[in-house]
């Protein structure tokens, strides 16, 4: 029995004449690691922002954790975590201060905050850095910290927008360990990425081209469907027809 | 040189892309010249004056009529005691009170001497002073007319001519002043922020690793603002001539050349600030908070510099806008030529050289 946590139908976003996201429809199930792929400019971030309640769709429907993206954006926000493409923790606050702040605004109690902070710091191996300003940390650690902060309130769904951009392979592995850990705890993970090896880690992936979803299935099935032996190749076959892009 | 032009083109693209900022950059000086040119005046008029007439006779009536006729005052006749007057001043509505004692005319005629009490709210000494002067001269005129019948011997009549600005308008003083103020702050701020912004976002590094000379990178950032500021100078001058009726009495070319020089000084100052600071916020606070009031006060268009204590007079020499204000006033209002302002020009040139010099020196230290 699969519980649906994200459900969209014909979800569309227009900016003037430009159709950034063109009638996308899909479902994501609880506990799933869902890969949301697409070339640059395909409309991934725009779609994700609509799902997070940061942007109102132009047409179509979507419900996140049972809440409507038009009317219940603030309810959605209580049940999701979000890690944006651009690093967005406060660089002039320390590691601990960031954790406490974001935990605090999500309504964690003082005791929860203390426990959570300890747990996170241990998990990330940042014991020595708790008093350091976030701005002074290496990118890899920043990203891991961002992720941990995004799931600090144990959301139903966490949205990750290119979380591993610019990070070394070892750190990427560690990052995915964190993702799996969250998924094991029942958090649904919705992740965009450029790295096709990462796509292989996902339960199911969708591939977006020019604002539309052109394929959606498990990595294994997609490879069969396109007669390819790697996701890289699948992606290439789909995305080379793209008109947009850089 | 070709590279330099490429860089300048890039900077222009940046500047022209941000329509909001561009709109503000051009709109702001224009609006300000208009607002201040029309609104600011040192003249004092429509001041609230209470008249407490304890006498109600011919003489007091005549004096009151004269005062009422003056545009300096908005009068109100009332009766109040000292205590009530105190609270009227405290409410802040009245600027001055005029008290006629009882039996004013009688005393004047019989004893040949009568008193009028004038009480001014001197929290603003300037207004108090001017209003007292106005009242005295109105009363003086009345007295003279009173004595007209009697031949006053040995009369000295001062004939006063107001040069350059016979109607004592605010514009001849404030337009050059606001021009110096606006150009200075806008130029300094724009250059400082745009360079520091590249530092903040890290794009400066990219430029600095290019085979292009770092000094030229910085200079190329200043060029678009030079042009923008010149456009501003043109629009300000057009406005002052056509909207404010303030003709340019001297050479337009000279005024333009001096304005260019002044803009260059400001750009150099902006560059210097940007080299010394690392965040936009600091750069902005310095160029605004730190410079707004000093520029306003030390330019000399509000307060006479010769009234300031000696150390401040010395400091005022360091403010470029002071020199530019003198130059604009001389060319625009007085219609003088270069021979009258070569000293001021020299000061601005020296400032430019100095600022560029220490900027380059500091910049090199940073790179090393």
């Amino acid at each position: 029995m699969k519980e649906t946590v994200i459900s969209t139908s014909a979800l569309t976003k227009r900016f003037g004449d430009f159709v950034a996201v063109n009638e996308i429809s899909f479902d994501v199930y609880k506990g799933e690691v869902f890969g949301f792929l697409g070339a640059n400019g395909a409309g991934k971030t725009t779609a994700m922002r609509m799902l997070c309640g940061l942007s109102i769709p132009s047409s179509g429907n979507a419900s996140i954790a049972g809440f409507d993206v038009y009317r219940q954006t603030e309810d959605i926000k209580k049940h999701i975590g979000y890690m944006s493409q651009k690093f967005s923790l406060y660089e002039d606050l320390t590691v601990l201060e960031n954790i406490r702040f974001f935990g605090g605004i999500y309504g964690l109690s003082n005791q929860q905050l203390r426990l959570k902070a300890e747990e996170l710091i241990e998990q990330l191996g940042l014991q020595k850095e708790t008093k350091k300003l976030v701005g002074s940390l290496p990118l890899g650690w920043k990203q891991k910290l961002s992720f941990s902060v995004a799931v600090i309130h144990q959301p139903k769904i966490v949205f990750l927008d290119e979380p591993t951009g610019g990070v070394d392979p070892v750190t990427r592995r560690q990052f995915w360990d964190l993702i799996y850990q969250a998924a094991d705890n029942g958090v649904t993970v919705f992740v965009t990425t450029h790295y096709m090896d990462e796509a292989e880690y996902c339960g199911r992936v969708s591939i977006m081209v020019d604002g539309k979803i052109e394929a959606l299935d498990t990595p294994g099935n997609l490879k069969k469907q396109f007669g390819s032996d790697s996701m890289d190749d699948v992606f290439y076959k789909l995305a080379r027809g793209a008109k947009r892009g850089e | 040189m070709k590279q330099f032009i490429t860089f300048v083109k890039k900077e222009f693209a940046h500047v022209l892309r941000d329509k909001k900022t561009l709109f503000i950059l051009f709109g702001m000086p224009v609006m300000q010249i208009l607002i201040f040119g029309f609104a600011l005046t040192n003249e004092i008029k429509n001041s609230q004056l209470v008249i407490i007439d304890n006498s109600h006779d011919v003489a007091t009536q005549q004096i009151i009529t004269r005062i009422e006729a003056s545009r300096y005052f908005e009068t109100e006749k009332t009766m109040m005691d000292a205590h009530e007057m105190e609270s009227a001043f405290q409410e802040g509505n009245i600027k001055m009170a005029l008290v006629f004692p009882a039996n004013f005319n009688e005393t004047l005629l019989h004893e040949n001497k009568a008193q009028i009490q004038v009480i001014a709210d001197a929290t603003d000494p300037n207004t108090a002073n001017m209003l007292s002067n106005y009242v005295s001269s109105i009363i003086g005129d009345y007295q003279q007319d009173l004595n007209k019948t009697m031949e006053v011997p040995y009369r000295i009549i001062p004939e006063i001519r107001m040069l350059y600005n016979p109607q004592l308008k605010g514009a001849p003083n404030f337009v050059p002043g606001v021009m110096a103020l606006v150009l200075m702050l806008v130029c300094v701020m724009m250059t400082a922020i745009s360079i520091v912004k590249e530092k903040e976002t890290g794009t400066m590094e990219v430029l600095l690793v290019s085979p292009f000379k770092p000094v030229l990178v910085i200079l190329s950032k200043a060029v678009p603002y030079l042009f923008l500021s010149l456009v501003n100078v043109i629009s300000i001058l057009l406005l002052s001539v056509f909207a404010l009726d303030l003709p340019i009495n001297g050479s337009l070319l000279l005024l333009f050349a001096e304005s260019t020089l002044f803009i260059v000084v400001c750009l150099a100052l902006g560059i210097f600030i940007s080299i010394k600071t690392d965040s936009q916020q600091v750069a902005m606070l310095i160029s605004l908070m730190g410079m707004l009031l000093p520029t306003m006060l030390f330019s000399g268009f509000m307060f006479p510099i010769e009234n300031m204590p000696m150390p401040l007079q010395v400091i005022s020499n360091l403010v470029p806008s002071k020199w530019y204000y003198i130059i604009v006033k001389s060319i625009m209002i007085k219609g003088l030529g270069f021979s009258a302002i070569w000293k001021e020009t020299l000061v601005l040139v020296a400032m430019t050289l100095f600022l560029f010099g220490i900027s380059i020196k500091n910049f090199k230290i940073r790179l090393a």
């Binding site: 944006s84 999500y106 | 600011l40 000494p125 300037n126 002073n129």
Partner: protein, 373 residues
Amino acid sequence: MRTIRFLLQKEFRQIFRNKTILAMIIVMPTIQLIIMPLAADYEVKNINLAVIDNDRSPYSQQLISKITSSGYFKLRGFDASFNEAFKLIESDKADLILEIPAHFERNLIRENEQKLFIAVNAINGTKANLGGAYLATIIRNFNGELRTQLIIPPKFNPIPQIEIVSSNWYNTHLNYHIFMVPGILAILVTMIGGFLAALNIVKEKEAGTIEQINVSPIKKHHFILGKLIPFWVLGNVVFTIGLLVSYIIYGIAPVGNLFVLYGFIGAFLLAVLGFGLLISTYTETQQQAMFIMFFFMMIFILMGGLFTPIESMPLWAQWIAHLNPLSYLIQVMRMIILKGSGFRDILPHLGIVMLFALVLNTWALFNYKKTSA
């Protein structure tokens, strides 16, 4: 409530972390408040005078020495011709020219009437006005003395004299510092509040951290309050430092009630901060926010009634001035600090400023959107 606490904790940490900015917020206004009033002296003294004495008679000598001993005028030169004297005006070395015509003394006695010519550099209206008036007064007095010298005083004076007894309340010696210090303090507090608030939200926009806030279930008014309160506190601190500086350096202690003063400042800061936040919600970059704030600051300051009186402005400009919160603060500062006005006196001002605060903050709240269209 708990959310606000976390927001406040964060904002205060950020403020205290950036030592450069903090130092500037505290030190810059203090220094400016110490120095600026010294520079802002309207008092017209040291008027530079050029004299052309074509008479060179005892009378003209007497007149000139009377003028120079008045303390208002500085003699810049004796010139042979008007053209020479005019050069002094052109180079700003002289503000006034007094021309005494030839045969001044002789004609005065023979013809009973004689003219003196005064030319004033009127570019700066105040100086021209007052300078001319002073000179005229001195000449009138001189004239009076001359008359008593020349005429054997009759037993009874046929000319009625009206004597004007002036008193200057609240500032007997017409001291400019008393006038300027509260006004400059008002400007400084406005600048600090306005600029910091304008930069704040837009800074989070530029850094991208606003996304992380927008995607959280945080309430809009909590967020705005979290931004407002720290700067409100900071504004009060700056204001308090300013009051201490005015007392220590200039000996100006508020005559009126301090609670009333702080009550008004509290409301005023809300208005200015609300305005800053409003600008912050409309702009994308710190640069834009700064320019817009700068534009309004110039208008606030120059049309605040400190440097030129509001009553003298044309009617449309007076309307703008009525929409300028700073003009109310400058008035109230003078009322409470210098005149000792009470709560009831400032009530109208307080009401208007509170209305500003309400409108601006509601508008800012409304315009800050966590979810974009």
